[in-house]
């Protein structure tokens, strides 16, 4: 498939997973992580309302700016102070994200 992108995701045990996902289906990163059978809590299902899909971005990519909701949610969950924190449910998969590296935040597990 032409529109597949690759993203490196480090799980809570430090293991790296190279996941692939289509960039033209309107998926977000949380959904892609889930679809690749990785454990991610994502309680609210993608509404930027729980912070249990928190990731830390490990390499530089031109990411879309945070919405006010995302920033406020990260702040409420005391995660905004961790540099490069994002909610993976708010990162829409686009071709620009190919090669992105993220690490799952602690709140994504039990």
């Amino acid at each position: 498939m032409e529109n597949l992108i690759h993203i490196n995701v480090t799980d809570l045990l430090g293991k790296k997973h190279k996941i692939q996902a289509p960039s033209d289906m309107g998926l977000n990163l949380m959904e892609a992580i889930r679809a690749n059978d990785m454990q991610i809590k994502a309680t609210c299902g993608g509404m930027a309302m729980c912070a249990s899909c928190h990731v830390v971005v490990c390499n530089s990519r031109a990411l879309p700016a945070m919405s006010e909701d995302e920033e406020a949610m990260l702040d409420d969950a005391f995660l905004l102070d961790i540099p490069h924190s994002r909610l993976s449910c708010q990162l829409k998969l686009t071709p620009e994200l190919d090669g992105l590296e993220v690490r799952l935040g602690e709140g994504t597990g039990e």
Partner: protein, 345 residues
């Protein structure tokens, strides 16, 4: 004869004891009512509705059959209304903690506050577990949990005439600040940033209250220490700009940073689990323990979909099985509400 009644603790008795008052739990009451079974609901939150009421009451839902669009909060209100004819009992603001089998074969369930319930059937409709408040990192915070620190406001009257400090920047921090401004002796709202999220008119109201001197607004700051002997007496607030610490006297400190779900005590009930879910038989959503069922987001079976509408289906089938479990010798005939109506208790 002396009256020893005060020595006997009242045990709440019912047919199906439902853990979790979210959409599935509420619809179970309706379905159970149709076959004349009584229900009682337990929820760790102070109001019914689960995630829908607590996390996204204003979000529209589009996949409830018959409702092209419905707000989560409205759906919950309607489900509560639909359950009303069957007079469900509620134990709210308490967490289902201990489960044990009684001599007569029924289950006894005790909450974290010591309320006791007895029922032949337990239906776990606990969604993603019980919601627990996010707590700011203050080393001795837990020492004051019964003596000045509250994470959930159950009875606002408690704060009448008291000095209250609220911390947080979301809707609940704003709403309670506005509400308590007329109740408490003083209200201080502390936020770690300079802008608030939440409804614009709430933000405006809070700013107006601060402008009129009705409340104190402390921005770009957070509570870093709490002090008191036996009960909360004062808080230390650190300002991020200059690291200056200000002491504020307080009777109550209410951190409102939202809630996050935890599977909680039912992890220890010997149920067969898969990750954070309870494994069930997809025929009737029974668990590995006879008399205990699990429905909705908390269960797992091949093909499981975490959708409200699937939870309704599960609740319906589960009640049929629960009926047969409670009355093994009785026959249950499916009757349509269009034919028999709803016979209220």
């Amino acid at each position: 004869m002396p009256n020893y009644f005060f020595l006997t603790k009242r045990v709440i008795e019912t047919d199906i004891l439902i853990i979790g008052a979210g959409p599935c739990g509420l619809f179970t009451v309706f379905q159970a009512g149709l076959v004349q079974l009584h229900c009682h609901l337990i929820d760790s939150l102070p109001t019914a509705g689960g995630q829908l009421a607590e996390i996204y009451p204003k979000k529209p839902i589009y996949d409830i059959p018959g409702f092209p669009i419905v707000l989560a909060g409205d759906l919950v209100n309607n489900l509560t209304k639909q359950a009303e004819p069957f007079k469900p009992g509620y134990t709210l603001g308490e967490r289902a903690e201990y489960l044990e089998k009684m001599e007569d074969g029924r289950w006894k369930l005790t909450t974290n506050k010591g309320t006791e319930h007895a029922a032949p059937v337990i239906a776990i409709a606990a969604g993603l577990g019980c919601f627990e408040p996010r707590k700011p990192e203050i080393y001795n915070l837990s020492d004051f949990e019964d003596s000045g620190v509250d994470y959930i406001i159950k009875d606002p009257e408690k704060y009448r005439g008291k000095n209250v400090v609220i911390s947080g920047g979301g809707d609940s921090a704003l709403d309670w600040t506005i509400f308590l401004a007329d109740v408490a002796k003083s209200v201080t709202l502390i936020h770690r940033r300079t802008i608030f999220r939440g409804h614009l008119d709430s933000v405006k109201k809070v700013n107006d209250l601060a402008g009129n001197g009705k409340i104190s607004l402390v921005l770009n700051s957070e509570v870093t220490a709490i002090n008191g002997v036996g009960k909360l007496e004062n808080l230390e607030i650190t300002n991020f700009d200059n690291d200056q610490i200000t002491k504020v006297s307080a009777d109550y400190f209410i951190p409102l940073f939202g809630l996050s779900p935890k599977l909680g005590p039912l992890k220890h009930w010997n149920l067969s689990l898969h990750k954070e879910s309870i494994k069930v038989n997809p025929q009737d959503y029974s668990t590995n323990i006879p008399g205990i069922y699990a429905i909705g987001d908390i269960n797992d079976y091949p093909g499981k979909l975490r959708l409200i509408l699937c939870g309704f289906h599960e609740a319906t089938l589960m009640v049929q099985s629960a009926y047969k479990y409670i009355y093994p010798d009785k026959n249950l005939v499916l009757r349509y509400t269009t034919v028999s109506g709803v016979k209220a208790f």
